[in-house]
């Protein structure tokens, strides 16, 4: 499996595990939405190539932070990464990048 997808899968699993411990239903819904977005991006070329590795890694790091501290601010950090992934995954580029 491409390493970006692997990192993203780890991030998704971590967010799902963390969300089970969340008490605020609004945060649970937001975490579920983030997982849904990551799943939707996972099979794109961006994550099959090496280009997606840095953002997949950031998603994993922020997911780990959410697991360690189930706070709204950590969830916001994850959502920011998800937004960045969405903006970059479909962006046209050269084959070289």
């Amino acid at each position: 499996m491409p390493r970006a997808q692997e990192l993203l899968d780890q991030a998704i699993a971590t967010v799902e595990a963390a969300s089970q411990e969340l008490r605020d239903e609004r945060l649970v819904a937001r975490a579920a939405a983030a997982v849904g977005e990551l799943r939707a991006q996972r099979d794109k070329f961006f994550f099959k190539s090496l280009v997606g590795v840095p953002l997949a890694n950031k998603a994993k790091v922020t997911a780990d932070s959410l697991m360690n501290g189930r706070t709204a601010s950590n969830l916001e950090a994850l959502e920011a990464i998800v937004a960045e992934i969405k903006s970059k995954a479909d962006a046209p580029g050269t084959v070289l990048t």
Partner: protein, 494 residues
């Protein structure tokens, strides 16, 4: 006997250890100048950088080398070649575009002191065909005409990473950079039944979401110079793949959409072909007439052909020169592997920042599975050169050689008479002190890391908190800040 690679590190603390001086020093140590006879036309092959690239070699390196070649009696010119289109918005795919981009990046005849030319003509069809029966995959190469016509070729290479080639070194500077556009089509496997995009890529048209769901759908039709993609009235994408020449204009659009699956074999085959094409360039000019300088500085993860330059993945590695393009590239790859990665760079994000780790397989390549050794190893197989080499550390050449050539005289001889006539220091003012200044201030008050330890001048026009003080109506108020010191200024000095 192992080929020699002459090397100087990137540290600099004197004019003769500047990177420019080191480039000339290793050039001489490798005896590259001995290839040049008086009157020889010498091609200096550089990568002038894509539009908005910023890590390409500063033009001063080519200028200094051209000046040195002129001292040796040669007639230098600096050159680059047209590219494949390789994206919908490339900036060097015709001579016109190349020259415009090169000029913006600082490569002009004026800055270089010799002509800057596009070596393969307006469209990239001006070339010279070379048979390469020794080739691993290619059996012919098409060398840019101006390079093939030169008496001597110096590949002045910015060593860095590359998404497709994995490394961008001396071999790629010739194996891609010295090929005409026609030659580049061959190297990239255009028309190849197995390794070409048209022949090998997995095409999944059902991944196209339709015009309504793809705001850039018109680009899908316009990314191919041959117009091989059509979006039909009933929202299907069609591709005339048999006519595909592997210009790479489409991959950056088709891969993200899932319409194409990346074809790793095309990348691998191209990396091997680069070595064969480089051999073709060497054969076109003559084996003993090609020299190599690798400037391993600003080692960006992607090539200068990308329209951006990321943080270097390793610190400056140094300056290398050799007559063997394989040895010099291997020496640079080895140096990158020995080096720790740059904090915050792609080498760290890819987990290869440790000293001793291969850097480019992950931090350079666009897709996983490529190797920083493919081109180098292929160039061993086709006989172009040797991976094994002797790394020769070169001593600095002394400051005398690198003084300002137009006027190397010391200061008094240069300026004594000049300053008598045009006195830049107003010695007649302020009792010979020349300028209006306070006799003493608390300099320690402005050195503190947390900010100044004296109050803001009461009439400073801009305050650090963003507020703006009304400008004084005349110079008197400012003089009041002198704490009683005599103000010798004339009106308006404050």
């Amino acid at each position: 006997m192992k080929p020699a690679v002459y090397f100087m590190d990137a540290r600099s603390d004197s004019p003769d250890t500047s990177l420019i001086a080191k480039m000339l020093t290793v050039f001489d140590a490798a005896r590259l100048g001995e290839m040049i006879s008086p009157g020889d036309v010498v091609a200096i092959k550089v990568h002038c950088g894509e539009w908005n690239s910023s890590a390409y070699l500063r033009p001063v390196y080519a200028r200094a080398l051209a000046d040195h070649i002129k001292e040796l009696g040669g007639r230098p010119f600096v050159c680059d070649t047209t590219t494949l289109t390789y994206s919908p918005f490339s900036s060097r795919a015709t001579e016109l575009d190349l020259l415009i981009t090169a000029e913006r990046n600082g490569y002009t005849s004026a800055t270089l002191g010799c002509p800057f030319i596009c070596a393969d003509g307006y469209v990239g069809t001006s070339d010279y065909r070379v048979d390469i029966p020794e080739g691993f995959i290619l059996k012919e190469a098409y060398i840019a005409q101006a390079i093939a016509a030169a008496d001597v070729l110096i590949a002045l290479t910015h060593f860095k990473g590359h998404g497709m080639g994995v490394i961008g070194g001396a071999l790629k500077n010739l194996g891609i950079g010295a090929q005409s556009k026609r030659g580049k089509f061959s190297v990239h496997m255009g028309g190849h039944p197995k390794y070409g995009v048209g022949g090998g890529v997995k095409f999944t048209p059902e991944a196209f979401k339709g015009k309504a769901n793809d705001v850039n759908w018109e680009l899908l039709e316009n990314c191919c110079p041959y117009g091989l993609f059509k979006v039909t009235a009933d929202d299907r994408i069609e591709w005339d793949r048999k006519r595909c020449v592997t210009c790479l204009g489409c991959l950056g659009l088709m891969n993200p959409r899932g319409i194409f699956e990346p074809l790793q074999e095309q990348f691998d085959a191209t990396d091997a072909a680069i070595a064969d094409a480089a051999l073709g360039a060497v054969k076109a000019v003559g084996r003993n007439k090609v020299g190599f300088i690798n400037m391993a500085v600003d080692v960006s993860p992607k090539c200068d052909c990308a329209g951006f330059s990321d943080i270097p993945i390793v610190p400056h590695l140094g300056v290398f020169a050799s007559k063997d393009p394989v040895a010099i590239d291997q020496a640079c790859v080895d140096a990158a592997m020995r080096s720790p990665g740059t904090p915050g760079s792609l080498s760290e994000e890819m987990g290869v920042a440790g000293a001793g780790q291969r850097k480019f397989d992950l931090a350079g390549a666009a897709i996983e599975g490529l190797s920083e050794q493919t081109t180098i190893n292929t160039a061993v197989v086709n006989g172009l050169g040797s991976r094994d080499h002797e790394l020769v550390h070169v001593a600095k050449a002394g400051p005398e050689r690198f003084r300002f050539p137009p006027d190397p005289r010391p200061t008094y001889k240069r300026f004594g008479k000049l300053f008598e006539k045009f006195q830049p220091f107003p010695r007649e003012r302020f009792d010979g002190q020349g300028f209006d200044r306070l006799p003493e201030v608390d300099l320690s008050a402005v050195k503190h890391p947390d900010g100044p330890k004296v109050s803001i001048h009461p009439h400073a026009p801009y305050h650090g908190d963003g507020t703006q003080h009304p400008a004084p109506s005349n110079g008197h108020a400012a003089e009041g800040h002198r704490h009683g010191h005599a103000a010798h200024s004339h009106s308006g000095d404050d």
